[in-house]
């Protein structure tokens, strides 16, 4: 289980979730729920990230040094933990995006023939 397709409950690769989270945070810092909503938004609602997958992924990425976090007041004045990309995270996003493009291109080609 990683990311769940909103309509069909199919499991996707773990790397996909990491890539989506990094992408979601590339525009600026977000708290956990923000990341979840942003992913939903940028995939036009195709992916819904469950908390049971989101939190482990956020913590894993933070431990890998790609994210950093701190506690800040949220827009409606609650305290929340905000995540943002580190320099290493931004580099990682670039690499993973490039790799994803290569793979999807290859698969698309394979399916065309």
């Amino acid at each position: 289980m990683g990311v769940v397709l909103a309509d069909r409950r199919a499991a996707l690769l773990q790397g996909t979730l990491d890539l989506l989270i990094l992408k979601a945070l590339s525009a600026g810092e977000l708290h956990g729920l923000g990341v979840s909503r942003r992913v939903q938004q940028i995939t036009d609602g195709t992916f819904a990230v469950q908390p049971g997958s989101l939190f482990p992924a956020l913590h894993r990425l933070e431990e890998a040094g790609w994210l950093e976090s701190d506690w800040q007041p949220s827009e409606n004045n609650r305290r929340a933990k905000y995540y943002r990309l580190t320099k290493a995270g931004r580099r990682q996003l670039g690499e993973e995006a490039a790799q994803w493009n290569r793979i999807s291109l290859a698969i698309a080609r394979a399916l065309e023939t």
């Binding site: 708290h31 908390p51 049971g52 939190f55 949220s74």
Partner: protein, 887 residues
């Protein structure tokens, strides 16, 4: 991925675990609040919003657990959790835990003790650099010239020839074990010693702790007051570890030797099981005769040389070496035999050892026996674990229902197993230490101390780890097999699971009984062997016989006075109160010396020639030893140097050389002496109690003019009188104040001669007893368990008027079958294994059916007691109480 950042995270997770967890709590709670706000902002009522948020979030705890699992260090944390839980669980049931640990301590202790001895004696390499290329040289061939003593092989001239000519060894040295007498006069004070060739220490690569090692410079022919190297232990005990030891002189009975060096503490010599305290160069011994076979030869093979190649190399050299070292005193025939000798080279990375040869087989047998004890202990532990897993089934079912995976639960069991096994191993190692000390104590005699390096090395640690692994599996396997049934549904029908557990336990009891049969058979076999050996016909009297060996120096008293001194001592000892008879002999029994001769018997059809032993005795010898004369006359005062030389033959000699026909009046020849046989004496043991009787030719001491400097007296104390060693000591101190003296009783020597058998008997008795105890506990446990389970049924049957014998049969039926199957399996297992013990069995056939019968009786008796006690308790059950309790 950033390794540094991961490491930092790991540290944080492990060290600040509570802070990290608290932050995670906050984070998830904040998420829930934000989510609730978010949903409410879409116009949903607060209550519905909260509910929707809960649903979207899923289980808070499972989210947190998922994060914990994803964190680095999660494994460490969960292992720690398992460990802490295991300790808590084990502490909660102390009786189970102590029974398990106790069983394992016995099993592991027995196995580890024997393995430690095997390791120290067989496997451990000498503590020198690069022990792998050490090899030793042996002489093989006709018996003409080999000595059977400790490692002695080569004469000094032959050693010199070998060292000169050989090309296989990069370095070669010769040595001889000996004893040095540290007391310049009076009662002897022996320390183990070595005569070594100059290269001994340098080839072994031993660095001195103090001073220097001996070199080829020290080993010059004709050296006087040669330098001595002493052991670290002697330095500490005799010289208080003082650094000025190098300016001191060692005051030996044989002379004064300046101390030139002290060895490091770990170097005990090249003989496993013994240590040396003093080493002198070979030249200091003064032995240089060509027919004196007293040196052992060892060395380091050149790189690339194997012992086979070296043996081949020596095969080509042998004729030349032997020709150059043939003793001039040898006649043509003896020289021919001598030249037939062959050299062989054997790997010696673990040194040389007489002890090893003596105990190799007994030790491996004991190792196998200890392994069986371990199997029995594991069966016991598995059985206990099974019982407990029944009790814990609801707990496991509950944990499974709460989301624990089966592998995780099995892991928990394994962790508990490791904890129990490790505790058992610690207790077992303590037992093993005690046992090893006891064994070495048993084997050592006052003059022959055995020193083994029993300190653990990697082999011991690996072995213990293996044992822990095995016992952990034994502990966890039975409950783990049933892991699939860990669900709340199954535990409600608990009666059936009980039943299958009982079956598994019955199998384990069968295994224990089979092991017990093997172990008790071994115990009986070895105990009977030891008893037979002690009771064996020795041919001489053991009780009330003292011996006193007197070692005079070469000059004091002067050789021409020795005969006079000898007469004086004999007369004086004879006057002592409590001493009934005094005699002396060149080789009294069991002292470890023998005088091998090649006896020739001229006959009508030619000369018969064969090996025999000679013992030169005083006339009273047969009286002191109470060896009855069967025919002819004893030695008497008329047997003088000028009269015809006479001899007395023992029965075996008569059988061997005269085909049982009376040899009285016949002539026999030993070397240059011809003897007329005047008497026949009963057979008696000479070198050890185990060996068959040897042909012995007794000759009269009174007919040979010059006695040697060593006189071995034997005395029989008057029956009932206490042996008066003190009186003997005083008498000797007055007559020969400067001579060395060694005292003892023949009983001590007999005991020392049976020590292997005593050891085997003692240890196998312990092992057998442990096995029986474990099997009895096993039977008791399984019967009382099944009786408790069937209490209701028994109560109903009794209430309906069943005969108590029927009820007992119902309770015992299966156990009886299991016991019989175990018994038969044990017997089947015993018959081939008993054959292994052939070399140790004495006076009893290892496959003797009477042993098996006795074992069956013993085990059935123990089993019956263990089974009947709980069965009787079941019978006494009040039906009403039983039925009420279970409903």
């Amino acid at each position: 991925m950033n390794a540094l950042s991961l490491l930092r995270a790991l540290c944080r997770n492990v060290v600040h675990r509570t802070a990290v967890d608290r932050e995670l709590d906050d984070e998830v709670r904040a998420y829930a609040e934000l989510l609730e706000d978010d949903i409410r902002s879409k116009g949903v009522s607060p209550q519905d919003a909260r509910r929707a948020a809960r649903i979207e979030l899923g289980g808070v705890e499972s989210v947190k657990e998922a994060v914990r699992q994803a964190r680095s260090g999660a494994r460490i944390h969960s292992w720690c959790q398992d460990l802490a839980y295991a300790v808590r669980v084990l502490r909660r049931s102390p009786s189970f835990t102590s029974a398990t640990i106790g069983s394992l301590a016995l099993g592991i202790g027995a196995t580890a003790a024997v393995f430690g001895l095997v390791n120290a004696l067989q496997l451990r390499a000498l503590p020198v650099s690069v022990p792998e290329n050490l090899a030793m040289l042996r002489l093989e061939g006709p018996r003409c010239c080999r000595h059977t003593g400790r490692n002695r092989q080569v004469s000094l001239p032959l050693w010199r020839e070998i060292a000169k000519a050989q090309d296989a060894f990069a370095g070669l040295f010769a040595f001889a074990d000996t004893r040095f007498n540290l007391a310049p006069q009076g009662e002897v004070r022996y320390v183990e010693g070595l005569y070594v060739s100059g290269d001994f220490f340098s080839v072994l690569g031993v660095q001195p702790a103090l001073g220097r090692i001996l070199t080829t410079e020290d080993d010059r022919p004709g050296c006087t007051s040669a330098g001595a190297v002493i052991s670290h232990a002697l330095w500490r005990t005799e010289f208080g570890g003082r650094p000025d030891v190098l300016s001191q002189t060692l005051n030996l009975r044989s002379g004064r030797n300046p101390i030139v060096g002290v060895m490091p503490p770990e170097f005990l010599g090249v003989e496993t099981g013994r240590r040396f305290e003093v080493a002198l160069p070979i030249c200091a011994s003064g032995f240089d005769r060509a027919d004196h076979w007293w040196l052992a030869v060892m060395g380091r093979l050149k790189p690339g040389w194997t012992s086979q190649q070296a043996t081949a190399h020596f095969a080509t050299l042998a004729p030349q070496l032997l020709a150059a070292a043939t003793p001039p005193a040898y006649g043509a025939e003896q020289a021919r035999d001598f030249l037939k000798l062959q050299f062989s080279i054997h790997p010696a990375h673990n040194g040389v050892s007489v002890l090893r040869t003596q105990f190799q087989e007994p030790l491996w047998i004991l190792f196998a026996v200890a392994g069986l004890v371990l199997v029995a202990a594991c069966a016991n532990v598995a059985s206990l674990a099974l019982v407990r897993s029944t009790a814990r089934e609801p707990e496991f079912a509950l944990r499974a229902a709460l989301g624990a995976s089966v592998p995780r639960l099995v892991r928990q069991l394994l962790v508990e197993g490791v904890v129990v096994a490790a505790l058992g191993a610690v207790a077992g190692l303590a037992l093993a230490n005690l046992a090893q000390d006891a064994v070495l104590g048993l084997l050592s005699t006052s003059t022959d101390r055995i020193v083994l390096n029993l300190g653990p090395d990697w082999r011991v640690f690996a072995f213990i780890a293996l044992l822990i692994g095995l016992t952990t599996v034994a502990f966890a396997i039975a409950p783990a097999v049933r892991a699939r049934q860990w669900n709340l549904g199954a535990t409600s029908g608990r009666l059936t699971s009980h039943r299958s557990h009982v079956h598994a336990r019955e199998v384990l009891v069968g295994v224990q009984i089979a092991m017990s049969v093997v172990l008790v058979s071994a115990a009986l076999l070895f105990m009977l062997s030891a008893r037979n050996l002690r009771a064996a016909d020795r041919g001489f009297r053991v009780d009330d016989v003292l011996f006193a060996h007197v070692f005079m120096s070469d000059t004091d008293p002067p050789p021409e006075r020795r005969a006079e001194v000898q007469r004086q001592i004999t007369a004086r000892l004879g006057e002592l109160p409590g001493i009934a008879a005094v005699a002396h002999a060149s080789t009294p029994p069991l002292v470890g010396t023998s005088w091998g001769i090649t006896l020739r018997v001229p006959g009508t059809t030619g000369e018969l020639k064969a090996d025999a032993n000679r013992n030169q005795v005083s006339a009273a010898y047969f009286d002191v030893m109470q060896m009855p004369l069967l025919a002819g006359r004893p030695f008497n005062d008329h047997d003088t140097p000028s009269s015809v030389k006479v001899a007395i033959a023992n029965e075996t000699l008569v059988r061997t050389f005269f085909a049982g026909v009376s040899p009285l009046g016949r002539r026999v020849i030993d070397g240059n002496d011809t003897f007329e046989i005047v008497g026949i004496v009963r057979d008696s043991k000479l070198y050890s109690l185990r060996e068959p009787f040897r042909p012995i030719l007794y000759t009269a001491h009174s007919q040979f003019a010059s006695p040697s400097s060593t006189i071995r007296f034997v005395m029989r104390s008057a029956t009932g009188a206490a042996p008066s060693i003190e009186g003997v000591r005083q008498a000797l101190a007055e007559i020969v104040p400067v001579a060395g003296v060694r005292f003892g009783t023949l009983r001590d020597l007999v005991n020392a001669s049976t020590q292997t058998e005593q050891l085997m008997a003692g240890l196998s008795f312990c092992f057998g007893a442990i096995a029986i105890v474990l099997a009895t506990i096993g039977v008791y446990g399984v019967v009382s368990c099944s009786a408790a389970m069937r209490r209701r049924e028994i109560a109903i049957r009794l209430a309906l008027g069943a005969m108590s014998t029927h009820v007992v049969r119902a309770v015992l039926g299966r156990v009886l079958v299991v016991g019989l199957v175990g018994l038969i399996a044990g017997v089947v297992l015993t018959i081939p294994t008993a054959r292994l013990a052939h070399s140790i069995a004495y006076g009893i056939d290892p496959g003797d059916p009477r042993i098996l019968l006795a074992v069956a009786v013993i085990i059935l008796a123990c089993g019956a007691v263990a089974a009947l006690l709980p069965a009787r308790r079941a019978l006494r059950t009040d039906p009403l109480v039983a039925l009420k309790l279970d409903s």
